[in-house]
Symmetry: C2
Subunit: 426 residues, 2 copies
């Protein structure tokens, strides 16, 4: 008998029919002899609709009101799920973030969990209930409702799992685990049975959307085992946990890609000390998350500086550069939106030299031009033309021995569900 937390995202509870299926699954886990706690997101597009209503009334809504507004989404799904469980003859009780004891700091819209008071959940479990906890929300020291921001519900699930000492935190979604690459562009991708926190974090950071980085970070910090699995099948998914000997076999664990970044090149920059510092401190001051930086060789005392950043930060980046460029006497800046970042990730890279050389030669043999490179001890990222991203992932996947014997067959995902996966919310 285990104590498990089961987290279901918005797609899994988007309609009464789907909520019934979730209830059925929870009851099944209970019948197997487990103690079960559910954590849910808001139904389908509820959060987007609430954001839209708020935007229609106030272009800069007060954070306290916004958090309180958004928190209603999970309060609806949690009560409906509790009702659906009761309809199957099992006892269920819903808990808001407040009642589940999720204490956060006071940073509305992106609050951090500071404590989990587990008393009420434990008491409900002891009385035979399936507690259903609203994801994404907590309460600050003033008693005001806070929300956790993107990835919030996954983080709630991991935090509750930690707070009650669960054996595993099962995160159900529309994908059935973590793959060596995105099966939609790499048909020979393999599902991983397990992956270390470190590799998972690098993959998530490099664009793999299956789990929110923040939840994985929380899980690593507090040693919570995550099981990422499908809401639509009973197949085992991928366990995310401490690195084990078995995991170390492969040099490369997986390949992630990300087409959401843009590249900005500043031309004709005087090659004097302090110029780069001025540019990048101004960008940081305007909340632009600079990813890679490439500085070319100087010619005639002038140089070019390129950097990549999320497409969502581009507007702020352009504002910043328009302001800073005259100051540093640079000529101009140009934006390239058609780029993609492909990243090889693996803890095994630490002890295996030659990964970069092999990656570069593989890409070269396939006529894929590298625009920029960045590395960490367990990751190698290259920026390429976005038109070549699928080809790049496939040839690297083969070259590093990740190919599955069987070609990936299309899953049961609908086009809508794939779109949801591409654009994962909280």
């Amino acid at each position: 008998m285990s104590l498990i937390v089961c987290k279901f995202g918005g797609t899994s509870v988007a309609s009464p029919e789907r909520i019934k299926k979730v209830a059925q699954r929870l009851v099944m886990r209970k019948q197997e002899g487990n103690d079960v706690v559910a954590v849910v997101s808001a139904m389908g597009k509820t959060t987007d609709e609430l954001v839209g209503l708020a935007a229609a009334l106030n272009s800069d809504p007060p954070a306290r009101e916004m958090d309180r507004l958004l928190s209603t989404g999970e309060q609806v799904s949690m009560t409906l799920l509790a009702m659906a469980i009761e309809a199957r003859g099992y006892k269920a009780m819903s808990f808001t973030g407040r009642q589940a004891g999720i204490e956060t700091d006071g940073t509305h819209a992106k609050a951090k969990i500071v404590k989990v008071h587990n008393e009420r959940i434990m008491e409900a479990l002891e009385r035979g209930y399936i507690p259903v906890v609203a994801g994404f929300q907590g309460i600050d020291a003033n008693g005001d409702i806070t929300t956790l921001g993107r990835g919030g519900s996954d983080t709630t699930a991991v935090a509750v799992a930690w707070g009650i000492g669960a054996d595993v935190c099962e995160i159900y979604s529309d994908v059935d685990g973590v793959y060596t690459a995105d099966p939609r562009i790499c048909p020979r991708a393999k599902k991983l049975d397990q992956i270390s926190y470190e590799d998972m974090l690098e993959l998530s950071g490099a664009g793999a959307g299956v789990l929110q980085m923040r939840a994985v970070e929380f899980a690593r910090k507090f040693d919570v085992v995550i099981h990422s699995r499908s809401a639509f099948s009973d197949v085992e998914g991928t366990y995310i946990k401490e690195e084990t000997d078995m995991m170390e076999e492969a040099v490369i664990t997986g390949i992630a890609h990300d087409t959401s970044e843009v590249k900005v090149t500043i031309r004709g920059v005087p090659d004097t000390s302090g110029v780069a510092a001025k540019v990048f401190s101004a960008l940081a001051g305007n909340a632009v998350s600079v990813d890679m930086i490439i500085q070319n060789v100087s010619e005639d005392g002038l140089t070019d500086i390129s950097f990549t950043c999320p497409g969502g930060d581009l507007k702020r980046a352009e504002e910043t550069l328009s302001r800073v460029l005259p100051d540093i006497r640079a000529r101009e800046y140009v934006v390239d939106r058609d780029i993609a970042k492909v990243s090889l990730v693996g803890t095994g890279m630490k002890s295996s030299p030659g990964v970069a050389a092999k990656a570069f030669s593989t890409l070269g043999e396939n006529n894929i031009n590298i625009l920029a490179i960045s590395t960490s001890p367990i990751r190698l990222s290259v920026v390429i033309d976005s038109a070549q991203v699928a080809e790049a992932v496939r040839c690297l996947h083969s070259a590093f021995g990740l190919d599955s014997d069987s070609v990936f067959e299309e899953t049961q995902l609908s086009a809508e569900e794939i779109a949801a996966k591409m654009n994962k919310g909280r």
Copy 2:
């Protein structure tokens, strides 16, 4: 400078555009120098939609979960209204039932307010905020969310007005006050400047839908002045307050009608003692609200007993009669749905004999047959054929000198708004 509570129903906050208008009105009242507290219902049909979702999952949803689910409706509208007020440059802060200090008993779905803790609202007012309070909800001694049932938001508004010692509780709706009769069927109806609690309660009880009886009862008990007025115009509406000398001029204050009742006749009832008691205690035991009772003269030891009850109670009434009739050896029962109740209401009736005689002769002259009669010290009700209800109201309205010099011109109400008025929710 006054302290006022302004309550807006679901129709008034059904869309972002309407919420903006409500915010504009609240700001106007504030600019006039008043301290203002808003109370809101859920947007439009939200509550019905939530009830529908619950019904799809559980035919008998747990009351605690249901109340928590329904309470989200007002939490959405209150935050949106607060945002809309802030967008106009005024400070606003929303309050759930819990935060507004609305303490109730633990009867989920129809909780009774037992106390109003005004501290947080008063503090927000002192700090210059417009507090926006969620109607319809409170919190019980266990800290669980409760809802107040039908008329709940009006009741919240009156309770808050009492709790903070407001000068007036303004209840905004899609009608601009209390009329001597329903203007839709009686074009010479007049709007009343003021009406006593007693008359208002009788009119509401007799079918006038403008205010919920429960809120009026609460207001009478705690002496809260209500101002019933239009959400769509600035015209003064009707004040509901303690009876004053000025009010006593008219014998009849107004005429209400109600087509929602049905008449049930039990035929061939043995005319022995205790039979009626058996029938009506069985009906009461099955939650049938019997309104009027008519017992005919006995013939051959058999008699007929008729009663009226709300159409919504008919199913339970029929169940009860099917069970009880064999027991009392009555022959059968028949149901007449095509009836209407027309009621003359006026505190002045107490000191004016002859009202009944005048009413009966007026109806007789107009060939309107009376099926049943009931009276209270300040009300006379007759049951007639529902096809004649408009004619009955108009001829009585004239006969008792209530006719306005001007014919009522259609208000700016849309068909949708009239439908909403006909079918008032909470």
